[in-house]
């Protein structure tokens, strides 16, 4: 399809919004890496322009009647077409705006945080790549395109988590994030292939059309593909059982965590679910699985967060639990509540991480107790901003989190089974408890606490960027406070293009806001009793049960389990095979390992140095067999 002239304004601005960060990445990585300030400038300018274009698009399409799609065939293999395109509908526009906004703010913030880091230019290059991948993902028009950028998001987050790669734990964390999300992605890819075979294309608009789907797929097939795709979501959004990579992912710089946890990497999973909401909702099994996984993740991560000492780790767990909460909302059949929580969460989670970054930057430690003792509350703006964000996370009334949580709880209440609502409410309670536990730890330090060794990070005391950092904090705090009151506008905007089928109004329970507010307040009160008041011993109720506390602190032994399985089945199994092969080596496991490695090396080496014609012969034989196979089967 040739472009028609004059160029469509929306298409041009969307394409420009996408291309700018990519161009910035290219320029930074290829041309201007030695000039640090220029790199940051280019990157921020690109994302800033993208943000403006995104806002422009949002305003332009505010009252649009139906989704706008621009597609161009990218590859054609026989009858299969792989289109590449842009799909503008309310949720993608909102997501685009949120992503570019958060990326922009985080990049400005990084001016201060990353100042003086030797990898400054590389950092901004990766940030641009990240922004590009996520923005393109959010307005992709087909699942195959989403998958490509999904992997790009994974790649760039790997680069950023392992940014300080000279630190062993950082590069390990990067690898862990990459590998664990890959587990889910395999399922995702399988789902895509299956779906493709059945549907003939992976157009998002078409997949969300119930008539088209039920015509091509049997209900069992819908459930199967849905579950496979959901596997990718579980990996990406760090849900149970693939959740343990996320807490480790804080090895990256704090602004990266902020970006990763709020609007990009993990949000991609939930966003994909929202994208295919119409498709998923055709399968009730699928929706209950989603609800269950969301609930399990919510509760597990909340319990882990209750005993964590590391400030970033607490927020990481809270991300998992809030993503679980979003999935609960979506799984319960309410599109708006999930998407709205995704948005509010992006705002306050970025704020949480960025304010935590200020503390970490200033005190050179991640430990909440030690930050408190060193006088964390003297950093006034960071403390206030963190309180605002924690309030939003807990769902305290006037803040954004309150509105979105209330929406989800309201929807859960409408489900037949009250267990879901109870679980959701319990999760919300625990969330408020651990959020304010951390706040009180920093606000009201107790000197008698057992000292925790401050860990050595790559932090630099440079007041130069403090202004930028604080400005970003205040902007985000303002967003957090205001966003909740726009609930109605966002809802109507989302509803405007979705059609009646997906816009089930959420029933109003007049007591629910009050109950939710009370719940949050009581949780905060409990936290105050245990950590805030003068005589508090700063020991949570969980810690009175040491076994349980250890259980939670060890992340329910999930990591151990994975490590055990890895050792038991993968490493031991293979090495036993090696030893069996090579009985001469009896000098213990280490020697055995080395010996077998050499053995295998020579074997492979022999394969390499063998005569070229023998290999040609094998190749020809393979071709002949293939011809025979096709001849006999066709």
């Amino acid at each position: 399809m040739p472009l028609s002239f004059p160029i469509d304004v929306s298409l041009a601005s969307a394409a420009a919004a996408l291309l700018l960060p990519l161009t910035a990445f290219g320029i930074i990585m290829v041309a201007v890496r030695p000039y640090r300030r220029l790199c940051a400038g280019i990157s921020i300018a690109a994302v800033g322009l993208s943000l403006m274009l995104a806002v422009f698009l949002l305003i332009r399409h505010l009252g649009m009647p139906e989704p706008v799609v621009y597609q161009k065939s990218w590859l054609a293999i026989g009858m299969m077409h792989i289109p590449f395109g842009i799909l503008l509908d309310p949720s993608s526009l909102l997501m685009l705006t949120v992503v570019s906004l958060i990326s922009f703010l985080v990049q400005v913030y990084s001016l201060g945080y990353m100042a003086g880091d030797p990898g400054f230019s590389r950092y901004y290059g990766c940030m641009s790549l990240f922004a590009w991948a996520m923005m393109t993902l959010s307005i992709s028009s087909s699942l195959i395109q989403i998958y490509i950028f999904w992997e790009l998001v994974g790649l760039s987050s790997y680069l950023l988590i392992g940014f300080w790669f000279e630190k062993f734990s950082a590069s390990e964390a990067g690898k862990k994030a990459f590998v664990m999300t890959r587990f889910g992605d395999v399922a995702f890819l399988l789902g895509l292939v299956l779906l493709w075979l059945q549907m003939g294309d992976l157009d998002i608009v078409r997949l969300n059309d119930p008539a088209a789907v039920t015509q091509n797929l049997s209900p069992a097939m819908i459930t199967l593909t849905g579950l496979l795709i959901f596997g990718g979501i579980v990996g990406k959004s760090a849900q149970f059982p693939l959740m343990t990579w996320l807490p480790d992912a804080m090895e990256g710089p704090t602004p990266v965590s902020a970006l990763l946890h709020s609007a990009t990497m993990v949000a991609a999973g939930v966003y994909l679910f929202a994208r295919l909401f119409g498709y998923f909702s055709l399968s009730p099994t699928m929706m209950s699985v989603c609800l269950a996984i969301g609930t399990i993740s919510l509760l597990m991560a909340s319990t882990m967060a209750m005993v964590a000492r590391d400030i970033k780790q607490v927020w990481a767990y809270s991300t998992i639990s809030q993503l679980g909460f979003m999935l609960m909302g979506l799984g319960a059949g309410s599109f708006f509540s999930g998407v709205f929580h995704l948005m509010t969460h992006a705002g306050f989670k970025a704020l949480l991480f960025l304010s935590a970054g200020v503390f970490i930057h200033h005190f050179n430690t991640n430990d909440a107790f030690s930050i408190g003792r060193q006088g964390g509350r003297k950093l006034k703006s960071a403390t206030i901003c963190m309180m605002v964000a924690a309030g939003a996370l807990s769902g305290l009334p006037p803040l954004s989190g309150f509105f979105s949580k209330e929406l989800i709880l309201g929807r859960l209440l409408e489900l037949g089974n009250p267990a879901w609502f109870v679980a959701g409410a319990l999760g919300a309670f625990l969330t408020a408890y651990y959020a304010f536990r951390l706040v009180f730890l920093i606000l009201f330090p107790k000197t008698g606490d057992a000292g925790a060794a401050p860990d050595d990070g790559h932090h630099h005391h440079q007041p130069a960027g403090a202004l930028a950092m604080n400005a970003v904090l205040w902007i985000l705090a303002a967003v957090t406070i205001v966003l909740g009151f726009w609930e109605h506008h966002v809802t109507t905007f989302l509803a405007s293009a979705l059609g009646a089928g997906r816009s089930q109004p959420i029933g109003h329970h007049p007591w629910l806001p009050i109950a939710a507010g009370l719940l949050a307040v009581s949780a905060v009160g409990l936290a105050w009793l245990e950590f805030g008041r003068k005589k508090a011993r700063q020991i949570g109720f969980i810690e009175r049960l040491p076994a349980l506390a250890r259980f939670f602190a060890q992340r329910w032994y999930l990591d151990r389990l994975y490590r055990y399985l890895l050792d038991k089945w993968v490493y031991q199994g293979i090495s036993r095979l090696f030893t069996w092969n090579d009985k001469k080596v009896i000098d213990g496991a280490v020697d055995g390992f080395g010996g077998t490695a050499i053995h295998i090396g020579t074997l492979i080496g022999r394969l390499h140095t063998t005569m070229i014609q023998n290999r040609l012969m094998v190749m020809a034989l393979a071709i002949v067999l293939m011809v025979l196979y096709f001849g006999l089967s066709g």
């Binding site: 140095t609 005569m611 070229i612 014609q613 040609l616 012969m617 020809a620």
Partner: protein, 105 residues
């Protein structure tokens, strides 16, 4: 109205088999490369025949690419041959090069 399509294909198949034979049987690196050329040529012939059969230009375009690939392959391949010959003094495909990069002899 010239010949049936399958005559062209069979001719190409016979040429291909000859090239394959040359590649597999000759104990000489240059002859192996020559065999590859024969096979590429056979494939090109099949493409031209197919282009005529279905009256599609793609077949001819592919032949153009086959030519380019052949040229690229020959230039690099022959440079490798010369380098191997300099190192080992032989064009026998059975020549073993030690990892250090010196001829085994």
């Amino acid at each position: 109205m010239i010949v049936p399509y399958y005559h062209v294909i069979i001719l190409a198949a016979m040429l291909f088999a000859l090239g394959m034979f040359c590649t597999l049987a000759r104990r000489n690196l240059i002859m192996i490369l020559l065999g590859v050329e024969i096979m590429l040529n056979a494939a090109a012939l099949a493409f031209v025949g197919a282009a005529l059969q279905w009256q599609q230009m793609e077949g001819q375009a592919v032949v153009l690419f086959v030519l380019a690939v052949a040229a690229a392959e020959v230039s690099v391949g022959l440079a490798l041959m010369v380098s191997i010959y300099r190192r080992s003094g032989s064009l026998d495909p059975d020549v073993r090069l030690t990892p250090a990069g010196k001829g085994a002899e």
